[in-house]
Amino acid sequence: MTDPVAWIVLLPLFWATLAFVIGPEHGGRLAFAGLAVQLALALTVAQDVSGGAVRVHSVGGWDAPLGIELLADGLAAAMLLLTQTVALPLALYARAYFRVHPECGRYFWPLTGFLLAAMNAMFLSADVFNIYVTLELVGLAAVGLVASGGGGAPAIVAALRYLFATLLGSGAYLLGVALLYGTYGSVSLSVLAPLVNENAPAAVLLAAGLMLTGLMLKTALVPFQFWLPPAHGGAPAPVSALLSALVIKASFYLIMRLWLTLYMPLTVPAAAQLLGMLGGAAILWGSFMALRQAHLKMLVAYSTVAQIGYLFLLFPLVTQTPPETVQSATQGVVMQIFAHGLAKAAMFAAAGAVILSTGHDEIAHLGGISSRLPLTLFTFSMAGVTLMGLPPSSGFLAKWLLIDAAISSRQWGLILVMIVGGLLTAAYVFKVLRHAFLKAEQSTTFRRLPRMLEWPAFILALASLLLGLRAGDLVNLAVAP
């Protein structure tokens, strides 16, 4: 009855449904209260798990083969913590944002609640079929958020593209589940893990390939990035922040979970190298495209394409490498998930504040921001510091751990890509800053912003910076059994 693992899934469902019934005006307050409790629950789970207890909850009292099991291990607890930590300040931000633009936020609170419930359930899923269901729920809620943002025909087109990409992705994943069940007669991760080995039949290899391709499509790894920039760049700022910071990470979390527990023995070095190369291509191409954008939100969206690339460097670093390389690569990727989650939420929120104040987001006409919106610009720069990977930010630590893993496994190409990626990131962040420090143009008018449009983003950016100092706890939590 009082198990936090169950309530962290139920609570957002409750406030989402209530928010739908009572209408958008009051949804924000409910959501904030719900999220505050969810954060407390996530902290409880994290504390239990880092104390060495794996939390299992059988839904409705039915045990695993018949019922659905929710299981919280270290990685799941870390993801729960990240999700609630990012969503709580964003709820404050979204309340202020939709007070200015009420027409964009009619369904924001219900859809956000369903999205968070689906993501929390996904992190806690212990079988591959339950993962499929939560994956679809996350996708449908996210598409709904993109479509209901009041962006007219371009937003509907972006939502449809996103919907088809996400349906194709989960379709491929489901076929993988069917092949796994057909081969082993089980969908439970803990039952499957010992059965999958080097001599697995071809059907299992096919399943692994289908599941990986489907999830890559949802994570928008190059060459599947086509749907991301219009969907993330075109949505209202609070939605972009949720999608870029959290939803992308949810499908990557699944890739990580499936590989580290299930498919590791099947992975051949050539496939891992290919994934690493796609990751490297994403870093370079995404950063280059970000540098070329004329609009602030599109720049931030392409920056997401680039930052996703770092996550996929995991594969060449953990395939047939020494255990200490595997450990520091895994820690680096978890750190990168957190660094990018916090920093990108802050960056999209700051970009949204700029748009509300000036009425546009053309980078060439951002002059005067430095004197009129100093806090927002400071937020943007701090988030930029994390993305570039300068000390003492969490982004620095993530890249440090990844480079350390690359050195110990002698993969020099990856180090080069990471360094060039960091320089390109600096280039696009400074491109924004350079224009922001110019004098204001005569034609620009600045609206005064409510404090709640600036401070939540600042807190997120500060968290991404300071996380570098408390990284030990997080990294230990993520690798806890």
Binding site: E136, R161, P230
Partner: protein, 101 residues
């Protein structure tokens, strides 16, 4: 060849047809139908491979029921969006290239 295997192979063929339709067809309604064909293919594989020596296995049947519910919801959302696009632009096709903004 067992009946289950015939079901599974037919499912695989349906799945590939559906994916091809989803990617290649331009009309939104055809894309949505193709998605349903793809989903049915995956369900057929799930039920077909789930049969052990001719006796049907109830677990994949329950999973397919859940999957059907999910795909009905997805179809409804896709249709609602397609209708909204039709109301806004009068067309049922996505523009060829995503606009930069």
């Amino acid at each position: 060849m067992s009946t289950g295997m015939i079901f599974a192979l037919a499912g695989a063929a349906l799945f590939v047809t559906g994916v091809a339709g989803l990617v290649l067809q331009e009309h939104l309604l055809r894309k949505i139908l193709a998605f349903n064909v793809m989903g049915s293919g995956a369900f057929l594989v799930l039920v077909g491979l789930g049969q052990r020596s001719g006796t049907p296995d109830p677990v994949p049947q329950a999973m397919v029921l859940t999957g059907i519910v999910v795909s009905v919801a997805a179809t409804a959302l896709a249709l609602a969006l397609a209708r909204q696009l039709f109301n806004l632009t009068g067309g049922m096709r996505l523009p060829r290239k995503a606009p930069d903004d």
